[in-house]
């Protein structure tokens, strides 16, 4: 089975995620798009791990999953703060760094 199948599927997921990050206004949806991109990376890692028959790629995929969990935790805390301060989850309204 050509490894390109997996790589191109993963490239598609990554580009869909990139579109979401650029085009979405709602901050929760932006975080979801970032998850799509991280997931595309994992698919690449596991595909190469199986192709070269080395388990390291799968271990790295597990690390990426852990980092993604941490990222969502922090991300949602920040989204909650934005919502509390601006009364809206829209990222376009976050215009100043000063609290």
């Amino acid at each position: 089975m050509p490894i390109n199948y997996f790589l191109i599927l993963s490239a598609f997921l990554f580009c869909a995620g990139a579109y979401g990050v650029l085009a979405r206004r709602n901050s929760v949806l932006v975080l979801m798009s970032i998850e799509l991109m991280l997931n595309a990376v994992n698919l690449n890692l596991v595909a190469f791990s199986t192709q070269v028959q080395n388990v390291s790629g799968q271990v790295f995929a597990l690390f990426v999953i852990t980092i993604a969990a941490a990222e969502v935790g922090i991300g949602l805390a920040i989204v909650l703060l934005i919502y509390r301060n601006l009364r809206s989850p829209d990222l376009d309204r976050v215009e100043q760094l000063k609290g």
Partner: protein
């Protein structure tokens, strides 16, 4: 070998459609549910690639924990359930579509050029590669220091999240 290809294409088409659903849906909760389809699809691809441990971790952590966190986030930010078309997007939709299509085109051309003819060869020995015994041994032998670092990072991130989200 053709069975794996058929399974791959069925799952891949479902994942691609659901990924478009995540970034195009006008309903925040529907987007989260489309995300579940994408994540379950990649778990299925991991099983196809004989990486069973990663596949189950994917199901437990991504579908079990992260999607629930997203649903909590949607609930706490009171995202409107029914939104008129395009209100969840900003006005750079066209530019973003051009950028991501261009990126996809470039990536596809380079991937086809670089990995043409490289095959994933499945064999019975390969089942052992992704088993939890083998992955666990690799984590606790070669990658034990990154493993400890990542657990400290997770702890720090969660303490940070609590500190950020506290009211006082």
């Amino acid at each position: 070998m053709w069975e794996q290809e058929v399974a791959f294409w069925i799952i891949a088409v479902a994942m691609a459609l659901a990924a478009i659903g995540v970034v195009r849906s006008d309903n925040v909760v529907h987007a989260a549910l489309y995300l579940v389809v994408v994540l379950a699809g990649s778990a299925a691809q991991y099983i196809l690639l004989l990486a069973e441990f990663v596949a189950w971790v994917q199901v437990l952590i991504y579908i079990g924990a992260i999607v629930v966190l997203f649903l909590f986030g949607i609930m706490l930010t009171r995202a409107p359930m029914r939104e008129e078309s395009g209100k969840l997007d900003n006005d750079q939709r066209l530019a973003s579509a051009v950028v991501s299509l261009f990126l996809f085109g470039v990536l596809t051309v380079f991937l086809v050029d670089a990995f043409q003819g490289d095959e994933v060869k499945f064999s019975d020995d390969l089942v052992k590669l992704g088993s939890s015994a083998n992955v666990g041994e690799s984590i606790f032998r070669e990658y034990v220091i990154p493993f400890e670092v990542v657990s400290m990072l997770l702890l720090a991130a969660l303490v940070g999240a609590v500190a950020l989200a506290r009211k006082d």
